[in-house]
């Protein structure tokens, strides 16, 4: 998805994991995904560079759809859709 599309997307849940280093954000995402419905979009906020690569790989393994990342100043907004 383009950055514009990502900015407009309706997010069912935002996980703010900016206070934790790797592997915190991945584990926060893992815990939160169980609380949303299939087809819902989740946004993970992370200040950890590694999360940007970890979440797409995790989505592939778990069957969720990785939608894209928006880089803000000092953190990333990572979007995915639950399978």
């Amino acid at each position: 998805m383009t950055q514009e599309e990502l900015n407009k997307i309706t997010v069912a849940k935002t996980v703010d994991a900016r206070g934790t280093a790797c592997p915190g954000p991945l584990l926060e995402a893992k815990k939160a995904i169980g609380t949303i419905k299939s087809g819902d979009v989740m946004e993970v906020l992370s200040a950890d560079e590694g999360t940007k690569a970890d979440i797409p790989k995790w989505c592939t393994k778990q069957g969720h759809e990785f939608l894209g990342t928006i880089e803000e100043s000092g953190f990333f907004r990572i979007f995915l859709k639950k399978s």
Binding site: T20, A21, C22, G24, K30, W58, K61
Partner: protein
């Protein structure tokens, strides 16, 4: 789909390597892997009730003179302790911690009660090797 299996031979009783093991366990938990941990010699000491998360009782495997800085950095970065990592992984996925019987005895641990509550059972080397043979990922730390 059958979950992927990870088998970890955990020889270390050092706080830096235990922390690394905890991070890897978190990754395995995020991927719903089934994990078997076999706690060997030095590792069994770290799982004793009187040690566990007591960093003062744990050595550093590398750069022992930098232990204070290392521990402070972990705190500043809001990194969990090794016991917290293990506990959280156990809450999320199927993680079993097996204490090697010989290792336990070396450190005065005869029974499961002598170890922190992360330990699931006392086992022999045969259990480790058969789990290792079946695992998709084998690690030795």
């Amino acid at each position: 789909m059958e979950p992927k299996k990870m088998c970890l031979g955990l020889f270390t009783g050092s706080v830096d390597k235990l922390t690394a093991a905890g991070v890897i366990l978190s990754g395995a938990a995020a991927l719903d892997m089934k994990v078997d941990i076999y706690v060997l010699l030095q590792g069994a000491r770290a799982f004793k009730k009187e040690v566990g998360d007591n960093a003062d009782a744990l050595a550093m495997a590398e750069n022992p003179d930098l232990k204070d800085e290392f521990m402070e950095s972990l705190r500043n970065l809001n990194v969990k302790t090794w016991v917290e990592f293990f506990r959280e992984a156990k809450e999320i996925t199927d993680v079993k911690v097996h204490i090697c019987g010989l290792a336990g005895k070396i450190w005065g641990g005869e029974n499961l009660d002598d170890f922190i509550d992360l330990a699931d059972d006392i086992c022999g080397i045969g259990a480790y090797l058969s789990s290792s043979e079946e695992a998709d990922i084998n690690l030795f730390i």
